[in-house]
């Protein structure tokens, strides 16, 4: 059993910022991260709106945050949390390898892209189904690509994909695009883009082959189903779903107050459990950006520091 003052779950901008603030306040600080340091922003090549970092990239900003975390002496451990007991004065957090006992927990596990939830999707991730245009666009050079969704991410990523793909067909459940007007206007002007409305994906074909060989789409107005097949010379096409995000809160949503799985906090990032804080994209809030995640992380760390001082050091 390892002891620490502040245990942070998630090493995205919220978790890293919380680590910087907590470690700088001389609290023993551990960050647990199940996959990659940096969270969702590391797949963004261009970040133009993080203050003080013009023309930076997701990985660039994260590298600098990580440097500050190291400088102040917080430790990042790459292990996945499997169970938590947050009720007591000392919070117990288990991973597959170790067990931690912490005075405070900052939950900053972020969000992940929402899946379509159809047959073939899971098996064909990496075989033609992708949730990251910047990572995988290159695989679809000169091929056809389907983008699923009609919001800002879908339309913007769709336009990015036209730089690689021969044709990008955007499929949305709505009768029109729901992205911002200026983004839609630009997409409408793009000759490589086509639009299919009132439609949802019901099946992705190719499970046995290990590569996408087709996709069935249903019109929600007429219930008519259509199966798209790739040009025989291509043999395959790409499918990029951008239909929103899901907060990574399965482990805590039965114990922390939430709204549609997003964790509720007050202005100081307090959850309904004393000594437990939430920060970043998994919180109920209006703006989910690097800058607001970092802000949440800083506030959560300061709240944790004050709580430790009151509760344990008096």
């Amino acid at each position: 059993m390892r002891k620490c003052d502040v245990l942070i779950i998630g090493a995205g901008p919220a978790g890293l910022t919380a680590a910087i603030y907590a470690a700088r306040a001389k609290l023993s600080t551990v960050v647990l991260e199940k996959s990659k340091i940096g969270g969702q922003i590391v797949t963004t090549t261009e970040v133009a709106n993080f203050p003080g970092c013009p023309e930076d990239s997701g990985p660039g900003i994260i590298e600098k945050m990580k440097k500050q975390v190291d400088l102040f002496g917080a430790e990042i451990i790459k292990e996945e949390v499997t169970a938590l007991d947050l009720k007591g004065d000392l919070k117990v957090v288990k991973t597959s390898k170790s067990e931690f006992e912490a005075k405070t927990v900052i939950y900053a596990a972020g969000a992940y892209p929402r899946k379509l939830g159809v047959e073939g999707e899971k098996e064909l991730t990496g075989g033609g189904v992708s949730y990251c245009a910047t990572c995988d666009a290159g695989f679809f050079e000169e091929l056809e690509v389907y983008v699923i969704g009609g919001g800002n991410s879908a339309v913007e990523e769709g336009m990015y994909l036209t730089k690689f793909a021969r044709k990008v067909n955007l499929i949305t459940i709505d009768p029109h695009l729901t992205a911002e007007k200026s983004i839609c206007e630009e997409a409408m002007k793009n000759e490589k883009m086509t639009f299919t409305y009132n439609s949802v994906v019901t099946k992705i074909h190719g499970k046995e082959e290990g590569i996408v060989t087709g996709m069935t789409v249903k019109n929600v107005k007429t219930n008519e189903e259509t199966t798209f097949e790739p040009d025989p010379e291509d043999g395959t096409f790409g499918i990029f779903p951008f239909i929103g995000y899901v907060p990574n809160t399965d482990l805590v949503k039965d114990i922390l107050d939430n709204e549609n799985s997003y964790i509720k906090t007050d202005d100081h990032m307090n959850t309904n459990i004393e000594g437990v804080y939430a920060a970043g994209d998994l919180r109920v809030k209006l703006v989910r950006q690097v800058v607001t995640a970092a802000s949440d992380g800083a506030i959560a760390a300061v709240s944790a520091e004050k709580y430790i001082e009151e509760k344990f050091n008096k």
């Binding site: 199940k34 996959s35 990659k36 340091i37 940096g38 590391v42 797949t43 090549t45 997701g58 990985p59 790459k78 292990e79 996945e80 597959s96 992940y112 892209p113 991730t125 990496g126 075989g127 033609g128 189904v129 992708s130 949730y131 990251c132 910047t134 990572c135 995988d136 666009a137 290159g138 695989f139 679809f140 050079e141 000169e142 091929l143 082959e209 290990g210 590569i211 996408v212 043999g235 395959t236 790409g238």
Partner: protein
């Protein structure tokens, strides 16, 4: 770490081989690489560990290998794919669990 290319892929992909497909545009792959390198030391006796740049191998070759998304870590036995972890599932833990299955 052995560097696989389109030209040496068939000749070098013998026995139990693990291939880390990546390219410079894949930030997730680059973030995962230190973990892959550590695992390649831990399991050096069990597998031949390789990297392959998908940008250099080109779209047609990637289609042939059915690698259409990154990160992708694939286990081959005598040139035939037997297992893979890909996309968001590709964590250090998932890769290690996959390797353990084939040791």
């Amino acid at each position: 770490m052995f560097i696989l290319t389109k030209d040496n892929f068939e000749a070098e992909n013998t026995g139990l081989t693990v291939v880390d497909f990546w390219n410079e545009g894949c930030t997730k792959c680059i973030a995962l690489m230190p973990d892959y390198e550590e695992l390649s030391n831990t399991y050096a006796d069990n597998f031949k560990f390789c990297k392959m740049d998908t940008k250099a191998s080109g779209p047609r070759f990637n289609i042939k290998l059915k690698v259409m998304g990154l990160p992708a870590i694939v286990v081959y036995k005598d040139g035939v794919e037997v297992d893979r972890v890909a996309g968001d599932d590709a964590s250090r833990e998932a890769i290690e669990n996959m390797l353990k299955k084939h040791v």
